[in-house]
Amino acid sequence: MASTTSGDRPQNRFVQWVDYRLPVFTFLNHELRDYPTPRNLSYLWNFGSLAGIVLVMMIASGIFLAMNYTPNDTLAFESVERIMRDVNYGWLIRYVHMNGASMFFIVVYIHIFRGLYYGSYKAPREILWMLGVVILLLMMATAFMGYVLPWGQMSFWGATVITNLFSALPIIGPKIVTWLWGGFSVGNPTLNRFFSLHYLLPFVIVGVVVLHLVALHQHGSNNPLGIDKKGKQDSIPFHPYYTIKDSFGLAVFLLPYAFLVFFYPNFFGEPDNYIPANPLATPAEIVPEWYFLPFYAILRSTPDLLFIPSKLAGVLLMFGSIAVLFVLPWLDTSPVRSGRFRPVFKWFYVSLIIDAFLLGYVGKHKPDATLFGIALPTIGWLGTLWYFGYFLVILPLLGFFEKPLKLPTSISEAVLKKGAGVASGAA
């Protein structure tokens, strides 16, 4: 494949001239136009491209916000209010960025849960999956630091509580916290460096996303049946099929996003963050943003574990909940990829989703509250055990004991069967 693109399309001189020197057009053609993609991808496969688009939107809105934001503890809050009131369309850019963070996590969580159901983390996509976990971690760090920047009550106290966690590490803990703070408590040095890092990390994310896409294109996308492509008839070119489908998905995605931005811009927010930070007054409830709630629940619900005090145990399990995702490809022993053909796995998967929402509920409310008469920390601890149990106990065992359903022989066979009106493996 020299400098021409697919078959019968005439290449104009300009394209040929550039492509001979830097094969941009050949590259784009190979990766985005002719690229063979499974023909049976569902709408759950839209969320990867959606995540990429939201990343671009966050970077664009963030750069323009940064033109007017001042990362200084006496000026930050006011600079945000200036953006909201005086900068042309400042309120729009700010609300897009603020709600974009929430939409980013919704999209990425759905993307991850898609992967968990269809076995997208299994060979040969282990590194693709692990790169994804790295992206998730970077997103969480970026979001955490971004929330501190407006310097409201939640910004300040959330930063205080989370940075204080590191003091739980034995011996080096307190030194690390002082190093993170740049002082004796969360203050101006902390704010300034969080701004610098918050600006930097999204570009690191872009780099990891590029690696993520390279890894993806090595073996192509997984598909709802979880079986590999057998031949040309199993795939269709990315353009126009998936370009149009992704465009449609984007338009639909923008609907709830726009609804939030224009009509309920503070739906996901905490009212307390519209109060300037006050180191002398702790808010009644310190609550992180909703996308951190399940992890917050794990942190708070963990009791003393053997010789490990609960504070340190909570920190370890909180980070452990992400760490366990890294090794997932080796924990799931089933030879079958897609949950569609794993009748027992399906129910455990559903329980994981319920567990995630339950942990979120626990993270949101006060530790002394109850649900159906049970204390929230107890529910939280049980939920934590269930989460780790799913990955460390159930998935390894299921591979041996579960009897999977019969897999179709090929993708096109399954698609043709469906087209003829015969019900194939139902979701």
């Binding site: 709408y43 309120w91 919704i106 149009i244 995605f253 224009f262 009509f263 009212p271 979701a427």
Partner: protein, 255 residues
């Protein structure tokens, strides 16, 4: 396939809906009053006349203790006042200035100045208010759960405490305030303010107007934002429709 698409769409739309149970109010809080503000509905905007009356209430009652710092006097032009009216309003207040001989002095406030605060700093505010700090009102509607309804309710929530409840001597009992003990004495009663346009000045009306004004103070972009929102949503619905039909057409030969 339609099933799965509906599931995905439902997930996207459900996130804002499934979540409210997690945000359910704690049992001990009293449900706030509902003022049925003009800006509550999807297309509703701020009632300018009501906001103007609210400004009057702020100036005559609230500004004694509460600042409105994030606002500048020139913002009042959004409430239907002319540039000259704004100049006159601002000129009633003075801001610090440096005299020609270099010593500290004052000058009348201009449109470009921020609203003058009643106290020079937090310590002075606390000293004058039994240690309590009257919060700045520019963002109060966004800084409290319940928003404008919270303000509307607090204004009318003062009552005698129930017989079994003891309150501090410097506090007042308010059924809508979390914890029920509020440091602010009841700021408004029937007839606290006389409206220039002759509107009935009972407590409910005053509370309604000052809450409307404060909603504007917190969300001055509300009208523009909602209008833009309607246009964007309509456009996105059309765009989604066109792209959906295009997608079905393109995929016809695959299915």
């Amino acid at each position: 396939m339609i099933r799965r698409f509906v599931l995905c769409a439902a997930l996207l739309f459900a996130a804002p809906v499934l979540v409210p149970p997690a945000f359910a109010q704690e049992a001990e809080e009293t449900k706030l009053l509902d003022a049925h503000f003009s800006f509550d509905s999807l297309f509703g905007t701020i009632d300018i006349k009501s906001a103007q009356r609210g400004l009057q209430i702020y100036k005559e009652v609230c500004s004694a203790c509460h600042g409105l710092y994030e606002l500048s006097y020139r913002n009042l032009e959004q409430l239907g006042y002319t540039e000259d009216q704004v100049k006159a309003f601002a000129a009633d207040y003075t801001v610090p200035d440096i005299k020609d001989d270099g010593s500290a002095g004052e000058r009348p406030a201009k449109g470009s100045d921020k609203f003058v605060r009643p106290f020079p700093n937090e310590k002075a505010a606390r000293a004058a208010n039994n240690g309590g700090y009257p919060p700045d009102l520019a963002l109060i509607v966004k800084a409290r759960k319940g928003g404008a309804n919270y303000v509307y309710s607090i204004m009318q929530g003062y009552q005698d405490p129930p017989p079994d409840v003891k309150i501090s001597s410097t506090a007042y009992y308010n059924i809508y305030f979390p914890g029920h003990q509020i440091a602010m004495p009841p700021p408004l009663q029937d007839g606290s303010v006389t409206f220039a346009d002759g509107t009935k000045n009972d407590l409910a009306q005053e509370a309604h107007d000052v809450a409307t004004f404060l909603e504007w103070a917190s969300n001055p972009e509300l009208a523009e934002r909602k209008q833009m929102g309607i246009n964007v949503l309509i456009f996105l619905v059309i765009l989604s429709g066109v792209l959906y039909v295009a997608k079905r057409r393109i995929w016809k030969d695959v299915h």
